[in-house]
């Protein structure tokens, strides 16, 4: 066994070293520093699968623009921000052309700052904090539906339903759980709605009885409750809310797009939530899901598979657009000018968006324990609250 491993590793080294000189012109190196273990693994593991599928499809078809085979270099940063910087340095030393950063804003900033200094375009596949590119600099791009974009779509929906008073439930533990409801409040107020109250929770608290008792006492009673809480907080919250006899409709965000929410039974009926896309028949997302199943022999575990796929398609489109130039500044400019690129979740536009893309937001409603499609919304840029 030992021997076999040794031979394999020698062979692998030779394989890895030999082609560099020969293929330098024909390969684009994409580094992915992701959280493949630890607290962020639930997001980065599916993202990696989507990335792998896109790389495989493109390489089988002869590479980007029929020229550049993609070489994917992955590193696990174990959900630790400090490791994110170390691993980024490591992949940059291997001269990657483009970097993908972890699924949360803090480690993405750590990775992005190093890549920024090296002029390597960096895309965060699923970090959704809209301030991220601004914090890091002009080489940092977001990919996922930004929090303020999602919140605006939910505010449109709330207004269309005729809700006048909304209550927001937020937690200051993460930017996502805090800012998304605040963006919603802003967008909802801009559309003439009122915020009846704000209730705070602590992530990981098993017990929402105190919060529910507070909500019960708010007057006038809110027409709708909006939150960005997700597992395990959201299930605990909605159960205790409903068991206290409060029937107010609940709006959620993409964090609850999970089998757990669908498995909650009666209490989750009618909950409406936003996410990055709904696989209606004939849509690009449905096709992606089918391709995914054929490739991995399993269904996608989360929409992050599709958004991971999207990132590679964005890079492909950028390189096609910049006339096959692989240097950092050219790719950067090309991504910044992309418009209506066809990706798995729909289309994506970077032009004029300050590196936080405009993409579709899908609204879903839970009916009989199934996810059903309400509508797709591309919010008007002017309605989207500024990132803060």
């Amino acid at each position: 066994m030992m021997k076999v491993t040794k031979i394999l590793s020698v062979a692998a080294t030779m394989l890895a070293v030999a082609p560099i000189a020969a293929q330098a012109e024909d390969t684009i190196k994409i580094g992915f520093v992701g959280a493949f273990t630890g607290a962020l693994a639930p997001y980065d593991q599916p993202t990696l699968q989507g990335v792998q599928l896109a790389v495989d499809q493109i390489n089988k078809a002869g590479g980007i623009d029929g020229k550049f085979k993609i070489e994917l270099i992955t590193r696990d940063m174990r959900s630790e921000t400090a490791q994110s910087a170390v691993m980024t340095q490591e992949v940059i030393d291997q001269q990657v052309n483009v970097l993908l950063s972890p699924c949360d804003v803090d480690p993405s900033v750590a990775a992005g700052q190093i890549a920024q200094a090296a002029q390597i375009p960096t895309i965060a596949p699923c970090a959704s904090t809209p301030t991220l590119p601004g914090i890091v600099g002009d080489y940092m791009f977001a990919n996922y539906t930004a929090d303020n974009l999602q919140a605006t779509a939910l505010a449109y929906f709330a207004q269309k339903q005729g809700y006048k008073n909304a209550l927001i439930l937020l937690s200051r533990d993460t930017p996502y759980t805090e800012k998304l409801p605040l963006y919603f409040a802003k967008a909802f107020e801009n559309k003439g709605g009122k915020i009846a109250g704000t209730v705070e929770f602590k992530m990981g608290q098993q017990d929402f009885s105190a919060e529910v008792t507070k909500i019960k006492g708010i007057s006038p009673a809110p027409d709708v409750i909006m939150t960005a809480a997700y597992e395990p907080d959201f299930p605990a919250f909605i159960k205790q809310l409903r068991s206290a006899g409060i029937k107010t409709p609940v709006l959620g965000s993409d964090g609850i797009d999970s089998p757990t929410t669908l498995g909650l039974g009666e209490v989750a009926e009618g909950v409406v939530f936003s996410n990055a896309g709904y696989p209606s028949e004939g849509s690009s997302l449905a096709k992606f899901n089918a391709d995914f199943k054929a490739f991995f022999k399993q269904d996608p575990s989360a929409v992050y598979t599709a958004t991971g796929y999207d990132v590679i398609k964005v890079i492909e489109a950028a390189i096609k657009a910049d006339g096959d130039k692989l240097d950092g500044p050219s790719i950067r400019d090309a991504i910044d000018n992309l418009e209506n690129v066809q990706v798995a979740t729909g289309t994506i536009t970077y032009k004029g968006m300050n590196r936080v893309p405009l993409r579709v937001v899908a609204l879903n409603r839970i009916v009989n324990g199934q996810k059903t499609h309400v509508e797709d919304i591309v919010p008007n840029g002017a309605d989207v609250p500024p990132a803060e």
């Binding site: 273990t37 704000t198 159960k239 757990t260 209490v267």
Partner: protein
Amino acid sequence: MEFFLQQFLNALALGGTYALLGLGLAVVFSVLGLINFAHGELMTLTGYGIFYALLFGVPYPLALIIGVVLATGAAILMERVAFRPVRNSSGTTMLLTSFAVSTILHILFQNLISARPKAIAVPNSLTGAVAIADMQIGVIQLLSILVTAVSLLALTLFLRRSLLGIAMRAAAEDFNVARLMGVNANLVISTAFGISGVLAGIAGILWLFQRGSVDPLMGFLPVLKAFIAVVLGGLGSLSGAVIGGFILGFIEVGLRAYLPDGVLAYRDAISLTLVILVLFFWPQGIVARREAVR
């Protein structure tokens, strides 16, 4: 008054879960002097046990039992494989071993099962509420209080009436003297881990009923709370762990219910400050162990 009573019941339910968890830690600590930080992973294992049992079509009550049995077996196995070889080493070695076991299990869950949460459907009958006078108390909360009471009673009976239980209490009092009296050390320690496994399994089920899913890192936060409960109650004391669990539950719910909105964000800091304050007056915890450190 009604608000107070409602919150009182809430605190009782939450404190009960903490008490069960704290007791699991304390049982092991009392005989081995080890805080087992892999205790939370036993809860996670219960969850996966239930998930796979349901997947294979096992009836719901049986699946719950399978979950608890799995946690119990895993706890005993954990002791055999990881802790027995380092039993006579320093406390630090054992503590680090428990962190290692915990991390290894995290990674195994993430890579062999899934990093994504797995849904466990909770029967609709458990999501309702019971009206007591003007109050609403959730079935799950009521169940938590009931299960905690029954578990505590059963454990007390076991420790007071059975020979093994008496041996365990003797070992908790002074392990070396107990061994001189002919108490089998391996058996006592295995039993302690077994009991901690059962308690983790039961607490795990109550936790799962609230959250409706199991994920690899699920056990981390509860074990932290249990650790606080155990320290608060007095390391090594079983009744202390229970009292500590309930106090923590009351502090948490009380702060959530009565703190003004502006300072709510600091409530963990406030609750831990209160814990430090208690320790300031009772440095050994509320129920101090009467003997000197071994």
